[in-house]
């Protein structure tokens, strides 16, 4: 492959710096490691954090999968995948089981990760305490002191106002009983997947210049009160209209003519896999 860029877009020094931050992040689960977020050919806020992490660790022989809101075919996912492929020449796949590196926005794939796999999540807002404390200087000290009443307070206030812990995404988690971490805007449905995952989970925030990580087999607990336990989105009674799956995270769709509401697997490649295996009722 002939290419005007260095392998994986960045010069080796840049990749080394990002890898060093990533290694530190893996060594201190849930701790936000600052790094020198670089200019990218896409705008900040469009996945540059995840992309930098992916590019820093990708190797010849890797197989890449990129998803955005659960699908491999959305514009942002395709653009990011093209950039990675054009500058590295690695193969891509939509099959979660065949990928070695999965870059994702908003979802952890339905298929559980294995030990040799890495998932890279794009994070817009890495700081779980930002809503109650706007100063970075202060939040760093709060993390240092393990003072997380701000994160609990946000949940408490939701219970006071709405009678339950509302908020569908980025529900904060305790990592390894030490740091409270924002799991990127994944739905609460995916929070339990963070716990004791076999694969490495990396989080990159390009605009906020932070990298953090959950190493394999790490204890991850979603914040909850004794009398208000953590609950995922209720998916009961929903069935995928394509593959017939029931225990997955769904997209809600509406038929424009009949206004009938129906559901479809949010993870499109998982749905396709089930259809190919003949699992679908309508296949």
């Amino acid at each position: 492959m002939k290419n005007a860029y260095n392998f994986a877009f960045f010069d080796e020094g840049s990749k080394k710096e990002i890898r060093r931050a990533t290694l530190k992040a893996v060594a201190i689960p849930g701790y936000q490691v600052p790094f020198a977020s670089r200019e990218m050919p896409i705008a900040r806020g469009w996945g540059t954090g995840g992309l930098q992490v992916t590019l820093s660790l990708i190797n010849q022989g890797d197989v890449i999968k990129v998803i955005d809101q659960g699908t491999d075919e959305s514009v942002n996912a395709v653009s990011i995948k093209n950039l990675i492929q054009k500058t590295t020449g690695v193969d891509s796949t939509i099959d979660t089981g065949k990928a070695t590196v999965v870059q994702s926005r908003h979802r952890i794939p339905e298929e559980p990760l294995r030990e040799e796999q890495i998932i890279v999540l794009q994070v817009p807002m890495p700081e779980p305490l930002r809503f109650v404390e706007s100063s970075e200087y202060k939040t760093k000290r709060l993390h240092g002191d393990g003072e997380y009443s701000g994160a609990w307070l946000v949940l408490f206030e939701k219970i006071m106002k709405f009678g339950k812990m509302t908020g569908g995404a980025a529900h904060p988690v305790y990592v390894h009983d030490r740091y409270v971490m924002s799991p990127s805007p994944i739905p609460k449905y995916d929070n339990p997947r963070l716990d004791h995952s076999e694969g490495i989970q990396l989080f990159g925030a390009g605009r906020e210049k932070k990298i953090y990580a959950i190493p394999p087999y790490t204890k991850v607990v979603s914040l909850a009160f004794d009398d208000y336990p953590f609950e995922v989105e209720n998916q009961e009674g929903r069935v995928c209209h394509l593959c017939g799956a029931t225990d997955v995270f769904f997209d809600e769709l509406e038929d424009e003519l009949t206004h009938e509401v129906y559901y479809q697997c949010n993870d499109s490649s998982y749905c396709l896999k089930r259809l190919n295996q003949g699992g679908g009722d309508n296949a």
Binding site: G144, E147, S149, L153, F156, E157, I159, D226, D227
Partner: protein, 281 residues
């Protein structure tokens, strides 16, 4: 009425807070200072070697003009500012032998969350203005390890009863409250963990007279019913006369006079205190 006992809950020794390094001249010879300011090195001595004891169940008043170091004193004791020198001991912490000004920041948070309470002059410092009154009171309970919504809400309701915040306003944010209501929510929050020591910094300043009276009644009731020791800072001698058992008078960062409140008001010794008492309406 709980008796003021001989037991010291808080002992402060030679507490100094200075802004600036200090120089040869002002360190050796405090007479060069203009009030509390060194003209040679621009250092400001906010508090200078302040020592006092606080007994259980007692209200200690601190009076002085603005800039005399009253607020700095309580803020260093509540760890909002770091003391430059001196020691402080809490009877309920480390058997009264650990200098609370020198412990780690984690331990300072523990002290704030479990053993101390603070009511600021400006409610913006003590409250999260956009969170409901209930959540504000619960915040301190959460910080002290509370994880049961039911019990924390109940405690918050009980305290908001004490400070007479109407039931139908409790889910509103203090940013929509009047100054007096904000101050009462702050008091409820400061009381949430039954702290043995409570600091009150100019709590009635800026409130209208009827609301002032309410807040003062409330403070007196809390002292009577809960036996909490308090340090109350005010420039208003009327407030001090009504509340404080003993009083310190501060000027330019130093304690210039100390004694029973009645004594200080009836028979002031220091010229500044005499002036202060004379100007009392």
């Amino acid at each position: 009425m709980p008796e003021v006992t001989q037991e010291k809950v808080l002992v402060v020794k030679n507490l100094t807070k200075q802004f600036g390094e200090g120089c040869e001249k002002c360190r050796k010879n405090p007479e060069v200072l203009i009030r509390n300011y060194c003209p040679h090195c621009q250092t400001i001595y906010a508090t200078r070697e302040v020592s006092f004891d606080l007994y259980r169940g007692e209200i200690l008043g601190i009076v002085g003009e603005s800039g005399s170091g009253k607020s700095t004193l309580v803020r260093t004791l509540y760890f909002d500012q770091e003391a430059s020198a001196g020691e402080a001991f809490l009877n309920d912490y480390g058997e009264g032998r650990a200098d609370i000004l020198k412990v780690s920041s984690q331990q300072k948070r523990y002290l704030r969350d479990y053993l101390l309470g603070m009511v600021y002059q400006n409610p913006f410092l003590g409250l999260k203005m956009k969170f409901s009154a209930l959540s504000n009171v619960a915040e301190k309970l959460i910080a002290a390890g509370g994880r049961h919504v039911g019990t924390m809400t109940q405690r918050a309701h009980d305290l908001l009863d004490v400070v007479t915040i109407e039931d139908y306003r409790r889910k509103d944010a203090p940013e929509n409250f009047s100054g007096g209501m904000q101050q009462r929510v702050q008091i409820a929050k400061a009381l949430s963990n039954n702290p043995p020591v409570l600091f009150l910094d100019e709590v009635t300043t800026g409130l209208d007279l009827s609301v002032q009276a309410n807040v003062l009644d409330l403070i007196k009731e809390i002292q009577r019913d809960l036996g909490i020791s308090m340090v109350i800072v005010s420039h208003d001698l009327g407030v001090i006369r009504m509340l404080a058992d003993r009083t310190l008078v501060m000027l330019d960062g130093r304690v210039i006079e100390t004694g029973l409140t009645d004594q200080i008001l009836e028979d002031p010794q220091h010229p500044y205190t005499q002036k202060l008492v004379q100007s009392l309406l």
